[in-house]
Symmetry: C2
Subunit: 152 residues, 2 copies
DNA sequence: GTTGAAAGAGCCATTAG
DNA sequence: CTAATGGCTCTTTCAAC
């Protein structure tokens, strides 16, 4: 990935629907060559897709939290993992090192829904312990801006 | 947001560069009406942008971790927050409730770089304590798929 | 990588419901 | 207010170099 690809990538992180023509002008290449570079960035897996970014608060889910969970010992974590992601408010989850087995990220309509999710975890999902941390504020420059910085 | 908008949104989460023509065919509306609905979803803030999704591993940063940090007491957290996000590997950060003040998400080239970041935190950034948790695996269905599920 | 032409997509004014 | 249509312009794509 050369310097031109880095510019292309940061422009596509900033505006994923920019036209190849505008992108080409930005990097001083022909639209054809620019489109070909984007295609190769996708083929190589560096760009895994183009997505609309959704504001959960605007969608009526303003309450974000991390829920750390510890599962009961046993080799049956595969089904438990699948079940965790079927919970209505769960955005993502990761298996992590340390005291907790997983950290889920949830976006809830209100504290009542968060309570529901946390209360639903023990038992049917094999969860033996949880720890909930509310996201009070996401730091400015998280996400797209941070990615652009990592390219530089 | 009606049922048609939900389909539009989930299609744009799946493919943020889909043409209004194809999108219109999917929801059985004219391209004009479809484009107008997308414009309104952006105006209302539900769609906050369109972005290329970058695979950090393909970019040479396969090692993800959460770094929980506790800052020294004091009212000067604003500059400390800004400083945290200037660290090279930091993707995002959030102010959270509980034992830790912030949780950062980082993507590193290798353990050596992760060590650098963790070692750099105490002192110049006002960090008095950290806890690092490696992301061993992100659960299948995290991200775009989860968002689509939340709409249903 | 570039060019140029054909096919495809977006945009806007107009009209209808 | 929301949607469809037609015509014009801009963009993407593909062959040839």
């Amino acid at each position: 990935m050369d310097a031109i690809d880095k510019v292309i990538l940061s422009e596509l992180i900033r505006d994923g629907r920019v036209s190849f023509r505008d992108l080409a002008e930005r990097v001083r290449l022909s639209p054809t060559a620019t489109a070909e570079r984007v295609r190769k960035l996708q083929e190589s897996g560096i760009i895994s897709g183009f997505r609309a970014e959704v504001d959960m608060a605007a969608l009526g889910r303003p309450l974000k939290a991390f829920i750390d969970v510890r599962l009961r010992p046993g080799p049956d974590h595969a089904e438990l993992e699948a079940a965790l992601l079927t919970l209505p408010a769960v955005l993502s989850g990761a298996h992590v090192t340390g005291r907790w087995d997983y950290t889920l990220t949830v976006a809830c309509r209100d504290v009542a829904e968060l309570d529901e999710v946390v209360m639903a975890l023990p038992g049917s999902y094999g969860v033996v312990e949880t720890n909930t941390r509310l996201l009070l504020r996401e730091l400015a420059g998280s996400g797209a801006e941070a990615l652009t910085r990592l390219l530089g």
